[in-house]
Symmetry: C2
């Protein structure tokens, strides 16, 4: 009996040791996959932080955090205020996170705060809106010119490559200028039977955009299509067509995928919208920060900016949303 | 004694159960990190597959395979032959791999083979050299225009923003044309006291490049710098300066990081070279294929090309290599 007792204890001890040993082996990347530590915290920082637009990048950031077993946090300036966003970044730096992903309120204001994080050896990447003068490792966002090109090709398809079109945009804002230019250039170069008759200012406002659309419909009796470079104006153009006493039809291509836009696609008022790769912005931002934090890049990261340890510019892509695939784009 | 015996057995059984249970929990992404199956095979396909240039993208591909716990293979056309590369792709498709990363021998020839893989639900991404007309999900490579801009800025720094420069390139090849244009535009726009006096054809050959460099040194007595857009020509320019009877010095900026180039940087013959993010091309290609295979993207992959489940264009970045950091770039 004593012998059995001793044997059993030995077996037990051996089993425990085996278990502990196998846990240790799992500590190498090869056996456990890419995985961080739950104590590792990565912070996403935006401005106007309550906007519906940020939900999808944050979801991507969170999904990558789940996949890699690390902790993520969301912070942001509540208003459209560069000083407030700078303060939020400085508060984040003080907490020594494993990495920070920032959407920059403008190209200039945040550069000192971003470089301060890098000086403190905290990796920074930028997403959605770049600050090209900073030393951040990477920018992940939409190629807006290319988005305009895609919108023009889709418009040509909707209009059988013929007729007058207009653009409703925010003149002077760089991403909107680029969308407009990509659209214009493409119509001019690829579609000789189409013409851009006007580029109007929608002020990013539903009512102004509605009124401008109605005005252009009157001024250009043959106007058959309109490309709106942002979602609020897209809803305004949609209202204009719905309210049009003449019952005229107008092909509308809008931008982004907020609920109002998707609903208008379902109802047929808006023909298509350009969905940005917003989930990708957040997901790959976290992947990049994780790789910087764990020194998994070749060449190794250097905060001096001497080497490029990561892809420096990532076009996160766009998709064309129509009634065919609109259901895929409602927030889940 | 019997009681102790029973208690001990119970403890043992409980311990075993706990171990099995914790193994199961580790099956979810959250607990085990990003990890595939060793039976999952991803294939990298190049042309002139023996070139030293491919070692670094393959190392990135292998490193990502190790990190994610999957199997990688390297295949390629041995020669510069589009038909041979098409055959290699078709052989790969027949083996039903989890994904294929391809560097395209030219923009057109491989499109049918690439689309055939996608029709068979095998994810494809392109790296280093694109085939824009295919339905591949993504392209990861160098922004060659931007590389030319960086070379011009470095040249200006080396020459104190003053003097005559020349370019030695491969006219007619798109990536080399872009590098040349980025360089020329930047010298013209940013450095009024500098001038590009000639753009010559080095035929991608050491001897031709050496002779062309000597000829230009004679034709332009004040020539003080030369940008060579590929490595073989860079070595030729280096030889020209070493053999120059007049003992004239010329600042040379070359491209890529083969051993001959790095040795000439160490000896001071070449001042700098532009290192491409080749490891990134391979590493992130495998990451993308892994995410497509495991349906981890938002939106989900669709082989019709309707959605963009991944970033569509990735500028893998460049680094400037000088005597300061040259040791980081020798193959390990």
């Amino acid at each position: 009996m004593l012998l059995v007792y001793i044997l059993l204890i030995s077996a037990f001890v051996l089993y425990v040791l085996r278990f502990e040993y196998s846990s240790q082996v799992n500590g190498s990347w090869e056996d456990r996959g890419l995985r961080g530590d739950i104590g590792e915290t990565y912070i996403m920082i935006t401005f106007q932080s309550g906007l519906e637009y940020w939900k999808s990048p944050l979801k991507g950031f969170e999904d990558a955090g789940d996949a890699l077993g690390v902790t993520v946090e969301y912070r942001g300036a509540t208003r459209y205020d560069a000083k407030e966003q700078t303060t939020v970044i400085e508060q984040a730096i003080a907490r020594k996170p494993a990495g920070i992903a920032i959407s920059a309120i403008d190209p200039q204001s945040l550069i000192p705060a971003i470089n301060k994080a890098l000086d403190a050896d905290i990796p920074v990447v930028l997403f959605d809106a770049d600050a090209p003068g900073s030393r951040a490792y990477s920018f992940l966002g939409t190629d807006n010119y290319r988005a305009g090109v895609t919108a023009a090709d889709k418009m040509a398809e909707l209009m059988a490559r013929e007729g007058e079109v207009a653009v409703l945009t925010l003149p002077g804002q760089q991403n909107h200028e680029e969308r407009t230019k990509g659209f214009r250039d493409t119509i001019e170069q690829r579609y000789p039977s189409m013409k851009v008759v006007e580029v109007a200012d929608g002020h990013g406002d539903t009512i102004v955009s509605r009124d401008e659309t109605l005005r252009m419909m009157k001024a250009h009796p043959k106007l058959a299509g309109i490309f709106v470079t942002e979602a609020t104006g897209g809803a305004g153009a949609g209202e204009a067509v719905q309210n049009s006493s003449e019952g005229r039809s107008l092909k509308i291509i809008s931008f982004d995928t907020n609920k109002a836009t998707l609903d208008m696609i379902k109802s047929g008022t808006i023909s298509a919208t350009i969905a940005q790769g917003t989930w990708n912005m957040g997901y790959w931002s976290l992947q990049y920060l994780f790789h910087l934090h764990h020194q998994l890049t070749v060449p190794a990261p250097s905060s001096s900016g001497e080497n490029a340890p990561l892809p420096v510019t990532v076009d996160t892509g766009i998709s064309v949303v129509t009634s065919v695939n609109v259901d895929d784009y409602y927030a889940k």
